[in-house]
Symmetry: C2
Subunit: 188 residues, 2 copies
């Protein structure tokens, strides 16, 4: 499996990759435990600070690692990784080494202890920003503190989950309406 | 513009249409004021009750109508509506009649006063469920109390926003991995 060559990316612009609503892989580490989970329930919340909210169910082992460490990495898989995404969703930590079992390569992050996933198109290092809704809704508000994004292609073919084992893939049909937008609605 | 023939849909299954992360049109009504806004920052939070979180910036006129009425409708436009989606994003209530100016047809909802948008593929009637993060993040947690979904096609071509005036369209490439999922992860 190819790993993507990534560059640092402005954290205030991660909406480019998260707002379209892809399935992501959350990687986490606490003490000597590492996990990966699939996630489709997330929302951008703010540009700067770069905030993302994630609903991480308590049945996931990752929930504990992220709650205890206050950190995770949001990784963006492309459609080629669909079989591993399904396998990760089917397996449960800590019995399974999610990296080894799925032939995924952990990479050292810069700002957090949780590892990046080399085979993903992008990786966003996150620190817990607000836990106000963790007890009531398992909803974690993270700040993206460092972003790594592949330089090619510009619009990756991402996976989007509809339930019942069915994904849709996105990225092939691009609709550019930039000229129709009010200038103040576009990024400088 | 065609209007979709819709049927009642189970509220606990709206993730099928919202989890993939489409741009939606929020319609709202308070007293004699009606508005529509575009929204890309949303996340499913729970199956039952059917909860959806939406980050509705205070600069939107809709924010006031939704905050005061405690209601809205989440409508799902397909790619054919891209020009109206852009026009709605460019305009600001209450100066503009968003329905009239965009040739959209309001329909009476069943459980809320906010109108459905007939030209959208699906409409989800929502009541404010928890305002705990409204002051701090403009994040509204809604319960979907009634869902109306078109019967055809099963996977609509939705719009997904990447910023900078550029959308991607989804729905043409379906990846079915149902046979690979653990049975307990699939809906009954």
């Amino acid at each position: 499996m190819v790993t993507f060559s990534k560059k640092e990316f402005p954290v205030e612009k991660v909406r480019k990759y998260l707002e379209p609503g892809p399935i992501v892989l959350l990687s986490s580490r606490w003490q000597d435990q590492t996990d990966i989970m699939t996630l489709g329930w997330h929302s951008v919340l703010e540009f700067s600070p770069s905030l993302v909210g994630c609903m991480i169910s308590g049945i996931n082992y990752s929930h504990t690692l992220i709650r205890e460490s206050g950190e995770c990495v949001i990784n963006l898989p492309t459609a080629e990784l669909v079989d591993r995404v399904v396998a990760i969703g089917n397996s449960h930590g800590p019995e399974v080494d999610k990296f080894g079992a799925n032939h995924l390569t952990p990479q050292q992050a810069e700002r957090v202890n949780a590892p990046l996933i080399a085979e993903c198109y992008a990786s966003f290092e996150c620190q817990l920003y607000d836990n106000a809704l963790v007890d009531s809704y398992n909803f974690f508000i993270f700040e993206v503190v460092k972003a790594h994004v592949a330089t090619h292609p510009e619009y990756p073919q991402t996976l989007h989950y509809t339930g019942d084992g069915i994904f849709t893939a996105m990225g092939e049909k691009i609709i550019n309406r930039r000229d129709d937008f009010k200038p103040e609605l576009l990024a400088p």
